[in-house]
């Protein structure tokens, strides 16, 4: 059944989307401010992808997103009209109006872009996405894995530039060309792509990731307000979702952060020492956290979620926010089955990041799962 999102929900949604960003995805806060500004006291209809009354098989959905370096957006606030222009450009190209928009990435700033579009156009947002988290490339999509091509893609710039790119079934080439345009637009572009039917949404999208982000962000806040453990609240909120396994990977203090920006990616490594003497946890990232190792043993690996949170407040920390001396807790969170199939792993599993290690579900690798212990 559909539900209404109001401005009051945005801080919780932003917190949950940061968690699902697993260190990357860009800051949803700025995006939430854009939504707030356009939405005012209104509300946005969010459609349940499992409900055929909400989203009929023949409904036409055009997802919207931001492409580029999230750090640029901090310095160069978008006008807010670009993602809607991208959607309108694709509608015109396809000769068909959208019945709804949808995120292609529920983690980070891209959780918010469809709501900017929805607030401006009155369109509803489908409660689903194509990553189930954040990934560094827009071709890393369950949509793509299960046969919905990214093409044609529409891209809009802040001075009204409109670009349509069609590379047929080749999503890597689409990413490659769209990225080049984005760079020349100043580092950020807004896009509409992976247009599909309601039936395709049900077949290819990770369902209910927006309502999940909202509930995770809300659970953390309510637990803090009630002086309960926000970690316990988080595990309880995740339990009934497709991300049901939460594993306590580590508790410690950041002793080293190494960062370099290469090929447009923020790559690096954070080392976390235990409070009591013992071996460190090492987390490697490429925009998002990719692997967590201890004593050379792999504890968690992409696409499962590796989340670094503040030890006390459970506030999720992005890789840009990592600082020497921070007391943090690191969680591994399992991902839905449709993100773990051989086809999915080929697209956004270890091999897609040049890693030689094999994927194994985080809940199988390690013992201590987080439940009531919090």
């Amino acid at each position: 059944m559909s539900w209404q999102l109001t401005a009051a929900d945005l801080p919780d949604l932003a917190r949950g989307a940061t968690l699902l960003g697993t260190g990357g995805g860009g800051d949803p806060y700025i995006g939430s401010k854009l939504v707030e500004q356009v939405l005012g006291s209104g509300s946005i209809t969010v459609l349940d992808p499992g409900d055929r009354d909400d989203l009929p098989d023949d409904a036409f959905v055009i997802p919207t997103a931001q492409m580029g370096a999230p750090t640029v957006m901090i310095e160069k606030l978008p006008a807010g009209t670009e993602p809607t222009l991208a959607l309108r450009t694709l509608e015109k190209h396809l000769g068909r109006r959208a019945d709804a928009t949808m995120p292609i990435e529920c983690g980070g700033v891209n959780s918010m872009i469809p709501f900017v579009v929805a607030a401006e156009t009155g369109l509803p947002v489908v409660d689903a996405d194509g990553m189930g988290r954040a990934f560094p490339e827009l071709s890393m999509e369950t949509f793509a894995v299960y046969g919905v091509p990214g093409s044609p893609l529409a891209l809009a710039g802040e001075r009204g530039e409109q670009v349509v790119i069609d590379t047929g079934a080749d999503n890597r080439q689409l990413e490659w060309l769209a990225r080049a345009v984005t760079i020349r637009l100043g580092g950020v572009g807004h896009i509409a792509e992976y247009s599909m039917s309601g039936a395709d949404v049900r077949r290819t999208a990770v369902p209910r990731t927006i309502s999940m982000a909202l509930s995770l962000g809300r659970a953390i806040r309510l637990a803090r307000e009630a002086k309960r453990s926000p970690f316990e609240a988080l595990a309880q909120a995740l339990a009934p979702t497709l991300y049901s396994h939460v594993v306590d990977l580590f508790d410690g203090k950041i002793v080293d952060v190494e960062r370099r920006t290469t090929e447009g990616f923020a790559r690096g490594r954070v080392r976390i020492a235990p409070v009591a003497p013992g071996s460190e946890l090492v987390v490697d990232f490429q925009n998002e956290n990719l692997t967590a190792h201890r004593d050379g043993e792999l504890l968690a690996i992409v696409p499962d979620l590796i989340c670094v949170l503040d030890h006390e407040s459970a506030e999720p920390i992005t890789t840009e926010g990592l600082r020497y001396g921070q007391r943090v807790r690191v969680l591994g969170i399992s991902t839905p089955d449709l993100m773990r199939t051989p086809e999915a792993l080929a697209t956004f599993g270890p091999v897609a990041f040049g890693l030689t290690e094999t994927f194994a579900p985080v809940e199988q690798r390690t013992a201590g799962s987080l439940t009531a212990a919090g």
Copy 2:
């Protein structure tokens, strides 16, 4: 009145287009081979832009061209279908079929691309272009100067990639974005842009540059065959055109060629020493020849044509073809009035190339005009 172009005309057209390339524009030879291959024993209708029966005011013209580094094309022969795909993509975007195609650049390889399209589609080619020579950027167009925007532009790649770019009236931004896509397509893309009416062609295009290129190439060849001076023949062929002034700038031997590739342009300088003792001629280029100086005195400057030809055969030599020891003759050729207005000079005159020198017509700067002296 319209006329027919056959494969037998292509070598002469290629020679004339190399001359109008003024050192750059890419080698029309490869383009002519593509036309030959598609055309076979057929013919292409070439429309006179001055004839309203050939080209009614409401005719719809979509120019076609190649974009990118001409040197790449030598290593990576296009399939030949890309420029037609670009035209079809733009037709689809605009919802209107073209009545004809047209060059946007009559110098170099882009003299040939519309004939590839014409041979494939059966469309006629308008005998006109938007540069009246070759220039390094696709925004350097009389079309643009006189109010026809390049947008929307369609770009096609060898693997069927289709890109449409619309930057409104901003042709520099269009060039900037299209260039980025071209680079990622491997260095060469094929484009359709500056779509316009027959009335716009008459108002904004440099007329009859294709028939002129053909007659220049033919004049040189026929003079050689008849053991007459090809330079004299060239001057006679130019006399009745809008490029009527031919100035003998220099006769000598190449003593130095300096080249560097920066920002995607082939920049450099050639020094030519006189046969008898005396001061050298210095020609600076950025893809095309920009200036000719002797003893610090400016003899000719862009957009007028500075052409380096073989001393004996009058074969035009591109900047890539310049070699130490070559015996060459350098001609300055006047350009039509519509290429010398203040608006035109702002777009492709000295200031557009960062030169501080002022434009003055080549026929006013120097004394010795080339007529019968040959």
